[in-house]
Symmetry: D2
Subunit: 478 residues, 4 copies
């Protein structure tokens, strides 16, 4: 039995390290800090000025990168990638970084996001004789770079980036340079930091990561975000920046604030923990209810629940306990145990729930199946009322920008009214945070504008070939 | 680099299942729920009326027990054990259950606790010709049973139990019976539950576990605790109980309430979550301080922190975030990163800490090294004051009843005053919960009396050969 | 699909090293050279004067003993064991060396052979309160030593050895001594050698091994065999020898010459290669037939086939080729391939067999199933006649002295006449070597007398409890 | 310690199966039979008409392909590849089959051989925008196919093949077709066979393999060799053949007869066992010497030794015994053991060598280091004379057609006279087979002509960019 939880899944995290004597170890630690962005496979490519080496494997960062593996990844530059991918296409072949030789030299790429015109481009490139070895849309980018008429690699990258559409936070490494890129709408985060020179490291080292929590672990200082439409070049001579395309109206993924990013990260210039507390507070203001205790679905519901409790004055209690020894699969008895899958991860504290009216806070409901089981467990522990509160609006549409959303027919909010959902999960009341409330809580303003397509179906890009998000290739690999 | 945290370690959890068609799977799930009581090795023995089979391995329960392994553990009875052991003696050989053939038949044992006269008994048994294959004190018990002059196994067990001294919650399985035992002082918990008959399972199934959280996962109802000095026999004909020795003044391990047990368990008849909230509340009453936020050292400090916040009115904030992707070892860069070991597990949320006066709640300080790093991280995140509050008294003495305590010279509170500890960890103030406050919070009363030896050096048993807690054998094994 | 071949199986090999700076590495190499004597599990115990350490695991010697594992097995003494065991009882628990603490101190034992009164002794020991943790008869020996009234360990060992009956070549290690023992009939081989002092190793190092091929690999010189009934003690002060029991009429296992031992070993004072060549020559003299080529069933039939060819003048040809990439299990297509199991290991050379009359030499026929397939393959390759010749007499009885023989009803020669066997395997003619011919070829004389029970049912010991060779315990372990 | 033997290494084996219900299992068995052609990595690609799936891994065939892995490789077509590669470039990334999507559809390729113009072509392709993800020259072929102006895949393959130069036996699989190709000089073998229809398999199944031994295991009948310059197409409608280029003077690799192929294979229309026996006989005629016994260096020297013995009348003896439990690495004692690396694999039979004059037969001498140790071991075993005889001429030049030869400066015969080599290895006499003698023994005639470049430096192709055989890429991967 595989133990899935009813959550949307981020598809990737990326990291890059320039000019550091232990570049691949720093990339390894950075990836570890980004592990929550993808637990399926991970990879690191390192460069020593002469050669690029890579190691990619299915599994967790701590399992994949042993001393022996890291020792082979020599050199003072490294990029890394951690990945989650959709079930049918779960393949080492598609793991990143992708490493290639082409007329612009050797390079490695790591990509967080999803292109919406990858299928169209791939078709065109194949018709002109390009060969694809993976079903990853990232391979399209490499072909565009190789085929660009531009003379320099930097211009060729800029040229290629102008041809792709969708979400991409990219790091590209050559033998001695690192390029960091964000798409013109800035869907996915990408931050720049610096490891300051010290007694043992003679000069500053520039680093990039999907989230700032990676900087905290490796002792880097956050400098600024890569801007939408920006191409930063870190080379031996220094750092340069250019805009390969005009920035468009920003479409930062609000789900990074809601669920994906770690609360200790600063994403799109805003503390995730603050956003979540504010979502909880706003939820209390919008959907207040008389109750005895506020309980979070751990771990992701905790910050909003604390906010809700603070705003409402109803005490926060840790009445759902999460197990942290969960493996990837679990053996289930033939004789079915009720709510088994959820109970492996969560248990109730009866002494806290008995006879209590409970406000139950979660960050989202995707299919509703897990919520139904949790509500039932809480009632069985003796709660007299369960008021479910969700710290974002109903998820009604798929994401084409790098999030693994189930098909529409599986999204409960795309198919049922809120009352029907309430009935399905068995809560006494159910309320969601409003769209406006969420955006305010996440600090939307002149500088930061959020993509809300999964709540509104207002996609900020044209959707060229979104059916292409399904595996587009006749090949697969383990 | 191994990633230790500065905690005392429980040495074991046990589980037993009688008369269930999927006995070994139930034992497996029960052990999974008790995983926090020992992550080093685990084992299950099953009996089918004709043969006892066992599988023991180093590692976590979910890693060890595959479908294939469980399929071999056939039969309708099973007992299981999960174990942590001291570093120098970390051995598969000492993993449990222990399985033996003797004149009383085949049997398997699983033991939570530690004997204080094991060395003396072992010496005597060896001098009379007994052979020891492990350095575990549990093997002593088996020899006493085999050598007992009593005619029946039950009487022989009772006879053997009267000869041993110390802490023991034991489950013993023969081809068709299960025995469950607690020592006369009741140091370690052991509860009895029942899986009710259903359409697929024709009759009730009696189960035992160190903590009730195991019952929640396998769908068993908690019945009662095994009593100090009690020997319960579950056999095809039914359940019988006898007292092999008069109960003595109860000496339940208070650290089960403070740290070892899961908050969702009921231990010694009391909800652990309630005890911890009450410890936090009492701590606020005893050691109140003016501050802006209450922050827990996760995960174990959270319940007390919530209690402290509730009592003091200072808001609880999740300003330390814990990573749950920690493996057993970690690769450290040559270039040292400050507080690296702690940062792998914990990170601060700067937006919450900046400019704030912080009450930091933890359940204990053992060596003080981790606390020092956490206090430093919180200050670096911008906190203006850090007031450390510990939800139990200073730990000044070693435990000889089944807890892995470091040597006295490593216990910071055995060697420094509170002011010196405060200075060492770098906090602005430091306070511990009083002994009386802790006991009240943990519900000490006429029925439940706690052992407080680690705080007071008042050991409830004579210490025959505590030096013997060190490996007493000239043999070791991997 | 598991790939069994129709052979009897030796159950063990043992090795011991005294006073060598790299004792466990020498034991590891010695075990590697004895790998053919048991491929199921292997173990090494080392002693450094203070502690005995052991590592045992399922698998091949090269897989089990890594640098890391060997580094832990510190000390200047080591003993090792490699084991094959019967299918139903294949258990890590029964792997050796066995390590125990008893009133005579800590010791480790490794045993090659099988006791015929183990069941009786075990029953008696259990009735007196001894505990058995394995189903191995070796554990009986340890209990006898511990319970002996003799004052010194050496006398206790001698006392214990006098009580056991059957086949045993034993090495026993204490913190600073090694004991080497052979049973009074000398069923199994055990040789003593010496690694001479060198620039890097200051003094001579005494070693023991089941076969001399182990000495060749570790650079030891063969000194002499341990004699039947002899107990050799190697201690810091030097080597002593005593006879704990009078030698009886020697009953050396003739199958060591026929099949078990490596041809490059000298066993019972005789070159195995010479014995096999002589068996082949004698076979040609006794059972000559007109033919074009002599072909061996590789690898074990090769030496006899070369002898047969030399004696008969019929040319030897390598017309059966053996694959050496065989794993433990094999995936078989659903659509059955004819003779698949044999073809994975053997293939014919058609150009050599086509139109030829073939003398096919093998060392034994156990069930006959493999022989049948090989004869068929040879015919399909175009051979016009197949004359099967076996370099020992028909195997008609089980062995109780350390060889894994199938039950009598599976032994083809116990159930069919030679003509019926010939018909079953499909050969044109079939002949076996005579008993006298075999013994002469193996050099039987005044000093060396062979056990021929598997050919004659004349068992040299009384068979107290041979049914006990089946698993005698109600416990098993993985 | 890695255990290398002083041998040239074949770089690959390929297999293909068309229209079989268990195609991937048949490919797996075929690869197992070709395991000797490459033990580093193996892979299988299967096609089910809709999708191509592949699994590639480092390791042996039996280790890589479990039931679970094979179950995923569904479909009625499969191709497989087993690979050895040079040390510095040992990479999963370069494992085959290579699978790609291009404008001609999805396809997978497996290649045995080496191109001599791969570097030149790669440089040109990169300059036109092609991207290379591996350092394998096989990737060049795929790009040429994708970029071909021809309309059909078949014509594009033919077009691509005309552009490459060197050695290539190729199998290419699309969703429903298999293409099998040999280069115009026929360097490497490739045979076609058929698995006949049966009750369970309704129609004949066409198969290809590097050696016929693969057919024997899977129950296929050998039909004929793919001819030099031929392109065979197996499609649902049947089999077609065309010659994409005129056959040139055949340059079959004579080392396939000398050492690479298994003796039970028929290669280039000739039984390898026959070739080797004839080489041994010819060696006896050309280099006869007075001696007592003929001894082979096992296993590869055995067939020639038997031939030598037959021709000379000097008896063949198995006086060197080979161990078959060798793992990939070995732990060596700090205290060096003489000839340790060789002794792990070989041991002498003293009783056969003592006082004897020995003719020692091996198939080749590459560096001479192993020969030196073997000669020394034979002398230490008591041989009075050692006459080394090699069943091919001195190896004086590197191969650029798919064999891993050491650099010239490491090839002893490229740097020393025969007398100097004799002196180095310590033999009494040393003789090699003559070039003419070898070719006659291997059946050279009007139809079969052998490449002898490694003996003569007469390379049959122009060597465009042989330096390019060294890793040509700035990328590498594990």
């Amino acid at each position: 039995m595989i133990v899935p939880f009813d959550k949307l899944k981020e598809e990737c995290g990326v990291v890059a390290v320039h000019a550091h004597p232990e570049a691949s170890k720093m990339a390894y630690l950075g990836l570890h800090a980004l592990q929550h962005r993808g637990q399926e496979s991970a990879g690191i490519a390192s460069a020593d000025g002469v050669k690029i080496r890579t190691h990619k494997q299915m599994g967790l960062v701590v399992e994949i990168f042993t001393e022996e593996v890291l020792a082979k990844l020599s050199g003072t530059q490294a990029i890394g990638h951690t990945r989650y991918s959709t079930a049918g296409d779960s393949a080492l072949l598609n793991a990143q970084p992708i490493m290639v030789d082409c007329n612009k030299g050797a390079m490695a790429l790591a990509h967080n996001g999803n292109l919406v015109n990858a299928g169209e481009l791939r078709h065109k490139l194949e018709s002109e004789g390009s060969i694809f070895q993976t079903s990853s849309d990232t391979e399209v980018i490499v072909h565009l770079i190789a085929l660009s008429k531009e003379k320099t690699l930097e211009d060729a990258i800029a040229d290629a980036l102008r041809r792709i559409e969708g979400a991409f936070s990219l790091v590209i490494m050559t033998l001695d340079r690192i390029f960091a890129v964000r798409d013109p709408r800035g869907f996915r985060p990408l931050s720049m930091g610096v490891i300051k020179a010290s007694e043992t490291v003679r000069k500053d080292s520039v680093v990039f990561a999907s989230e700032t929590t990676a900087f905290d672990l490796i002792g880097a200082e956050y400098q600024r975000d890569v801007k939408p439409g920006e191409l930063i070049v870190v080379e031996p001579e220094g750092i340069r920046s250019r805009f390969y395309a005009p920035a468009q109206k920003m479409s930062a993924c609000v789900f990074e604030q809601v669920y994906f990013s770690r609360p200790d990260s600063v994403v799109f210039g805003r503390s995730v923990a603050t956003s979540r507390e504010m979502m909880g507070r706003q939820l209390a203001r919008e959907t207040g209810v008389e109750a005895d205790i506020v309980v979070a679905v751990p771990d992701s519901g905790v910050p909003a629940a604390i906010g809700y409790a603070a705003e409402s004055g109803i005490p926060f209690r840790q009445a759902l306990i999460r197990s942290h020894y969960i493996g990837r699969t679990f053996i289930e008895p033939a004789q079915r145990l009720r709510d088994f899958g959820v109970k492996l991860k969560l248990n109730t504290v009866k002494s806290m729930l008995e006879g209590r009216r409970v406000v139950l806070i979660d960050d989202s409901i995707v299919r509703g199946t897990t919520s139904k089981k949790i509500v039932r467990m809480i009632r069985q522990a003796g709660a007299t009322e369960v008021h479910m509160r969700i710290s974002c609006p109903p998820t009604v549409a798929s994401c084409y920008y790098g999030v693994d959303t189930p098909r529409r027919k599986e999204l409960i909010a795309a198919n049922k009214t809120i009352e029907e959902i309430r009935d399905f999960i068995g809560a006494d009341t159910l309320s969601y945070l409003s769209l406006g409330g969420m955006k305010t809580a996440c600090g939307e303003n002149g500088d930061v504008n959020y993509c809300d397509a999964c709540f509104t179906r207002n996609y900020p890009t044209q959707l060229f070939d979104v059916a292409e998000i399904q595996p587009m290739s006749a090949t697969s690999s383990d």
